[in-house]
Symmetry: C2
Subunit: 375 residues, 2 copies
């Protein structure tokens, strides 16, 4: 149920971008759809627009609920709304589902007009840079020439970062939360195991499982279970689940025994009904590829030279997927360029998932930063 300070009932909108998009992979997409939602109102000066970029398994439905679906609360409803840290009484907030996603924007499950079939694995690999380009097209469609802020956590934070690099004049503030300037070998390793689980599933059918009226459920489930382990901290798993047994004693078999097993399997099963496997592959590749310093021989400070935005960078102490160290690297590179950056390392037990939670200090920092943005 939406709280009294929720944006309330929302309706997704669609835009057809009828402009060819040349992707970083070299492939061109002739046109595409984006589904998005907006909360609040665009002011006369068009100076109060805030773009929220989603992470791996997120989408355009950032806040509010759908009519007749009281449990359909947006993934960042605790952050975005009237009087909330990202205040929709002040800002015009936009959530968009990225290209390659599976919640309404053009993606692998969409029909490719050229073939009449699902794109499937033929959907091109998309990068964070490609997404920012499409988001810029959406902004233009909405008559927005500059964002007051671009905000995101995890992969969403990478998009916020990319905005300041690709469109330095179109973004005044970037909120980069629980993110990183690039993935480590360990990060990539986890993503590759998740991909291999999907790709080697006998029901993957080279990505064309739609034609077989099935989906690589086993693989997608494993991918999600694995993802969940990386989103939680060792500590929070221990305190939430420990070694609790579902039946209080060993059953000496391979069915669920420990509560953590029950939790993970439940999360895995649930996810296979909510997310497209091909989209999952694409999202992990976008994560793996993101590396703005690469064009500068690994020098992140050099990569930030043309940046003009101001930043709020936030990390969480028990996040071992994108540890505080990664955020510190971003902060230092920004400071090397005398960029205005506020940084907070928030004590939290909830690991990488912290960025989705309602931590008081975290929300106060975002609230203060957003309050300070002139529109």
């Amino acid at each position: 149920m939406p709280e009294s300070n929720s944006v309330g009932i929302v309706t997704p909108q669609y835009v057809h971008i009828d402009k060819p998009l040349k992707l970083k992979s070299g492939t061109e997409i002739s046109s595409y759809n984006l589904v998005y939602e907006t909360y609040g109102s665009l002011n006369t000066g068009r100076s109060n627009a805030v773009l929220v970029c989603h992470a791996l398994s997120g989408n355009h439905h950032v806040a509010g609920v759908y009519e007749d679906k009281p449990k359909s609360t947006g993934w960042w409803d605790n952050m975005v709304g009237p009087g909330k840290p990202i205040d929709t009484d002040k800002f015009f907030v936009i959530g968009v589902n990225n290209l390659g996603g599976c919640h309404g924007s053009t993606g692998p499950a969409s029909i490719d007009a050229r073939t009449g079939k699902h794109y499937g694995a033929n959907f091109p690999i998309v990068t964070v840079e490609d997404w920012v380009e499409t988001q810029a097209q959406l902004a233009e469609h909405l008559g927005i020439h500059q964002f007051a802020a671009v905000v995101g956590g995890s992969l969403g934070g990478m998009q916020a970062l990319q905005w300041t690099l690709d469109f330095p004049d179109k973004v005044r503030h970037a909120l980069v939360i629980a993110a990183a300037a690039k993935l480590t070998a360990q990060n990539i390793a986890f993503n590759d195991v998740a991909r291999q689980a999907i790709l080697t599933d006998q029901d993957y059918y080279g990505g064309d499982y739609y034609s077989y009226n099935t989906l690589p459920r086993r693989g997608l489930r494993l991918a999600r279970m694995l993802g969940h382990i990386t989103y939680l901290s060792d500590h929070s798993m221990a305190s939430k689940f420990g070694r609790e047994l579902r039946d209080g004693k060993f059953s000496f078999g391979y069915d669920v025994e420990f509560e953590i097993e029950s939790y993970l399997r439940y999360q895995g099963d649930k996810f296979t009904d909510l997310f497209d496997a091909n989209s999952y592959l694409l999202m992990t590749k976008a994560l793996d590829y993101f590396d703005p310093a690469n064009a500068y021989n690994g020098d992140l400070s050099a990569a930030f030279k043309a940046v003009r935005a101001s930043f709020l960078v936030l990390s969480f102490t028990t996040d071992w997927r994108f540890s505080p160290e990664r955020s510190r690297d971003i902060v230092k590179a920004l400071l090397d360029n005398n960029i205005n950056v506020s940084y907070g390392e928030i004590t939290s037990t909830h690991g990488h998932d912290s960025f989705l939670m309602n931590d008081a200090y975290y929300h106060q920092l975002v609230r203060a930063y957003m309050k300070n943005i002139e529109v």
Copy 2:
């Protein structure tokens, strides 16, 4: 090739234990085979026997090589041999393949005499306590009434610990390396994802894949890939692989791109030819179940009350599977019982895998401890 101080050419030996074994699960095994190897000679007083317990993917072949197979070096050849830290000039060292394994001891791939078929998934769940019981049977068969030391790393260390609990008079020293007194929720979570990968593989056939002349290769491969991520430290993966690309540039596809992907897939593929999937399931359950403090309301100090052995406990700083904190818990519980314990926390970049490696300080500590053992 064996070094000049290797035990040299070795030959596995088999024993048929014709005594029923009542397992912790309640199931009884009427008889079973164990494959083992020995290095060095048992002295007249039978006081110099050392038992080496293997970990998840290990076996009885601890040191030396097989005739005509120069690359078949034992998994702990750098530790066990003439003049090595576990000196076979002084000790009679025994390596045994645990029940449920797949290297010659009775396990899921063995034929169940009662049915004439492979045990498959009908092979009962075995615990660390069960293994110690079988190892005691082997000792009796070899005329050994007391071990100078029981040694192991990881799951092997858990067995060493169990020996001091179950047979306090039969073990004088326990070397417990890179181990833990129980697994955490995160540990169990990783094991369960590995198990689910195998169990949901369409070629698992309820564990009876032998009858179908196949094996759950995809699942076992994923399990191994995942295991490898947990055996390496974030740091060592970064320095060994980083974000190196195999072809120097992105290929915008799902084949191997990053070197870490290449490494993991290679390890996964290799493993499916070397290890039985049902055995893998059993090994992970034994890990999950191990919890000596559980019978004492979680009080490890109480669990160690009857322990009489002396201990060397070793941990490695970057081991995030069984972190130093876990070893410290063991050490403190031993100290609570005024047990003679030596403890070393070894600075290493190699994560959990460190216990298999030739770190100078690590080997010096083991060497010193072993040298100090009276036989």
